[in-house]
Amino acid sequence: MIFAQAAKCLGNIGRSFSWAWLDTVCRYRRSKIGPIWETINILFLVGGMTVVSSAVIGGRPAQNLPYIGLGMITWTAISALVNDGTSTFLINASYITGSTMPIDLYIGRTVCKSFITFCHHIVLYVLALIFLPVYFGWLSLFSLVGLALLFINGYWMVGVLAFLSARFRDLEMIVRNLMQVAFFVTPIFWSHTLLVGARRAIVDWNPFFYFLELVRRPLLGELPPFYFYIVVLSMTALGYALLYLVYRRLRPYLPLFV
């Protein structure tokens, strides 16, 4: 029963992607350089962060650039999933109350949208590979595992947040604020090695840290510790269990309060 439903959701991902794709295409239609804006935005952000962080924390900008760049690109995907997750059902409210389309299409729409945006940003990494002395080797492939895990987990995050914030309207603001804090307490533009002793709790108990490192470390030529994968896989299992509970509890009533 659950498996049949899961299979259906999986099949709907492709459909969601078409929707997200049309959203993206339409967004660019009236812009002169369209998709390039998305890439430029991150480029400037990464450039600025690198200069500031090198001045404040130390190190040469050219050395810090790949670390901070990959950190920012991954973080942007994470925060897009979480932030857009909260508004997923709210922006689709008219379809939810007016059509019989399955609910996972909306979740998939948000996940695919953040994946498409991520693809815009990762172009910068490819450029960096060409023009900068950035590591590239077999280990890099491990980041694909990290990426897959990130978006697989993104799906339950979007789902859970979409249901809860449709019902509890304060959640959207709470999450947005927390994500701003999370940006600073997650080692994106600083290294986790700066933390020692009790302060390490900041990263050890930070779920985003694990997702970030599973994508970033292999790309910089270092394999993440095995237990990172265990942590993320546990979050995956717990997350989907949570999604199932939230779905069971709130799905029938969603059109009434969305």
């Binding site: 049309l22 009533y253 059109p255």
Partner: protein, 258 residues
């Protein structure tokens, strides 16, 4: 065997604003007069009783017009039939595929062209790919939108959007077709075409339920009438009789109609 059965269906819609604790006093729902048959309060929640004890059975071949004053529960009834709203109590039984045209506009992206929206709907609804060409030709023929189909949906008038939505919702002839109001936005010529299309479908669409204020449209399509008032079914039978009863209700002021 296509059929629809509702037994003692109640629908209560929760309003959670009543529970909000705010630092800043907003115009408050707490002063709403409650305790009538329509609105009740349980701790923290106002409940709007949208449908009361509704029992209904529709068999193959029935074409039903749902009429009643604003706020009578017409849209709620259609949403219950479509399976969008859950029943607070009572039973809903339905066999057959459902096509619902409930939102004023089925546009999935108003910046996308008519064709793009058609293609996206075909993906989301899973229309057979090999028939897509025929479907598009059919929609072109039916809507008579011509070159407008190549323009973004945001430039469509309400009537044009209604034509497109109607064409898309009816293209695959569902067993049960539910339509709310919006074809009323079409002009006289369109309404005639809609009637002909419904006639054409008669062999395939087995049950039709339409809510509308356009007596002419209802007369041309439906034989039976279901009169709702204040969430209760006042009458279900011959359309002429239903319309006559409705005219009598219409002479009372809205507040007294309850």
């Amino acid at each position: 065997m296509t059929h629809v059965r509702l037994a003692h269906v109640e629908v209560k819609i929760p309003i959670y604003e009543g529970a909000a604790r705010r630092f800043i006093r907003l115009p408050s729902l707490s002063r709403a007069r409650v305790g009538s048959a329509d609105v009740t309060r349980s701790p923290g929640v106002l409940w709007v009783h949208a449908l009361h004890d509704l029992t209904l059975s529709l068999a193959e071949g029935e074409r039903v017009a749902v009429i009643g004053p604003n706020g009578a529960g017409k849209t709620t009834l259609l949403r219950v039939l479509a399976g969008i709203y859950p029943c607070s109590s009572g039973i809903r039984e339905l066999s057959g595929s459902v096509g619902a045209l409930l939102a004023a506009n089925m546009a999935l992206n108003s910046d996308a062209t008519g064709y793009e929206n058609i293609r996206l709907v075909s993906t989301l609804e899973g229309w057979p790919k090999d028939r897509l060409k025929d479907y598009i030709a059919d929609i072109e023929e039916f809507t008579e939108l011509g070159e407008y189909l190549g323009l973004p949906l945001r430039v469509y008038s309400a009537g044009m959007a209604a034509r497109l939505s109607f064409a898309m919702a009816t293209i695959r002839a569902p067993d049960i077709l539910l339509i709310d109001e919006n074809i009323g936005a079409g002009d006289a010529q369109f309404q005639e075409k809609a009637r002909r299309r419904v006639d054409q479908f008669l062999g395939r669409v087995k049950i039709i339920v339409i809510a509308s204020h356009s007596t002419e449209l209802l007369r041309s399509i439906c034989r039976k009438g279901l009169l709702l008032d204040g969430g209760k079914m006042e009458f279900f039978g011959a359309l002429d009789q239903a319309l006559a009863l409705y005219a009598r209700i219409g002479q009372r002021p809205v507040a007294a109609a309850r």
